[in-house]
Amino acid sequence: MTVIIDYKAGNTQSVMNVLDKIGEPYLLSCDPQDLIAAERLILPGVGHAAPAMKQLQKQGLDQIISHFEKPFLGICLGMQIMYEYSEEGNTACLGLIPGTIRKFIPSKSLKVPHMGWNDIDLDINQSLFKGLNERESVYFVHSYFADFEESSTIGITEYARRFSAAVRYKNFMGLQFHPEKSGKVGQTMIENFIKMK
């Protein structure tokens, strides 16, 4: 069963809605036993890195996630806290993916948050992107970003700089945008993810 990690950080409802639409059964849980037994995990998230990490640690979920060997998908803040460190609240994160999350510096020519539909160039050899084109549009809302990194980036978006809009490091995958709000393209990614073993 797919388990959505319930850690009081945001938009679990919209992830649940997409799974309902696809007809995929899931469990929303923060019980360590459920997470260990899961076929795959989804870590959603909207909000701030520091309280999100604190909540995971309080429930002892950070350790379980680190040892998880099946498909894992972090979304938005859920992806950011998969890195080693975030400038948001100077937070030590899960360290599943090497690298640091940094802030977009706003200016009159660079609106922050980076909000709206933007292009993403996908590594279409990834099973997560099966059935999609090399360039798609997806919906972003974020003020922090992960640098492009040869070893883990599987989707690149440009907003003042090239950043990592999709990552994969071993069994850990992350999407900076909101697949659950990105129309058919995003839904395809979720469908691909729930087929992964």
Partner: protein
């Protein structure tokens, strides 16, 4: 490249979509969730639902509606209309709204902006501003444009930004309903002073108005109601024409 967003706005009364001109001659226009799904299919980038009944009794109806809409569509949507406290914001967001739009309540108590942004994040907070040009000065109005305030549009916009608004939705009351085009001059100035996205509202009548807006200002999005409801402008055709004019829009099949 970041796309310019096209945002249809749906007026909601007692859980139903209504259509009318300047809040007069309201007609029932059906189930908001169904209409939302149709706009989403046609290529809308985001939706705004404005609860024009906005009384306490209707709040649960609105929350139920939000839940239904969230199940129906998979593009972002915002809810506005009489939002005045943290509790209703929490209800709307946890039931599936991506953003809330707040107007009069934060004019009365600007701290509400800090509170909502601090609790739920800046990304979910649109501050809507209605203003009118009076002898060269843009004055802010509250309560659906019915009450003048002492606030200056540009000063107020800077204040809401510094307090934590994630977006500014500016409606020019001088242009709203005229179908003569957006308030491009004011929008350009507003956008240039802001480091958060600015959404333009008021005045859309034909496709050229959207093209003019995006060619003469760098605002992030355009919002309109009537022209989409009454099918005067098809969203698909609009985006096609914008793309032809060299404006970055999300392509939908």
């Amino acid at each position: 490249m970041l796309k310019k967003r096209i945002i249809p706005c749906l007026d909601i009364k007692d859980g139903r979509t209504v259509k009318g001109t300047n809040f007069i001659n309201l007609m029932d226009a059906g189930d908001p969730a169904e209409l939302a799904a149709r706009y989403s299919e046609e290529g809308a980038d985001e939706l705004v639902f404005l609860d024009i009944s906005a009384t306490q009794e209707n709040r649960q109806t609105l929350v139920d509606l939000v839940k239904k809409i969230a199940k129906e569509i998979n593009i972002p949507f915002a809810v506005g209309g009489g939002i005045g406290d943290e509790e209703i914001v929490r209800k709307l967001l946890t039931n599936g709204a991506d953003k809330v739009s707040v107007n009069s309540a934060c004019i009365k108590a600007p701290n509400l902006i800090d509170t909502i942004a601090g609790t739920f994040g800046e990304q979910c907070l649109i501050v809507a501003i209605d203003a009118r040009n009076i002898n060269g000065q843009w004055k802010v109005y509250s309560h659906g444009g019915s009450r003048p305030t002492e606030l200056d549009l540009f000063e107020w916009a800077l204040q809401v930004q510094s307090r934590g608004a994630g977006e500014i939705l500016f409606t020019s009351m001088d242009h709203d309903g005229t179908k003569n085009g957006f308030a491009n001059t004011a929008l350009k100035r507003l956008n240039e002073q802001s480091h958060i996205p600015v959404v333009a509202s008021g005045g859309a009548g034909k496709i050229e108005h959207f093209t003019d807006l995006f060619l003469s200002t760098d605002v992030s999005a355009a919002l309109a109601a009537g022209v989409f409801h009454f099918k005067e402008i098809g969203i698909g055709l609009l985006k096609h024409e914008l793309a032809k004019a060299g404006i970055a829009v999300r392509k939908t099949d």
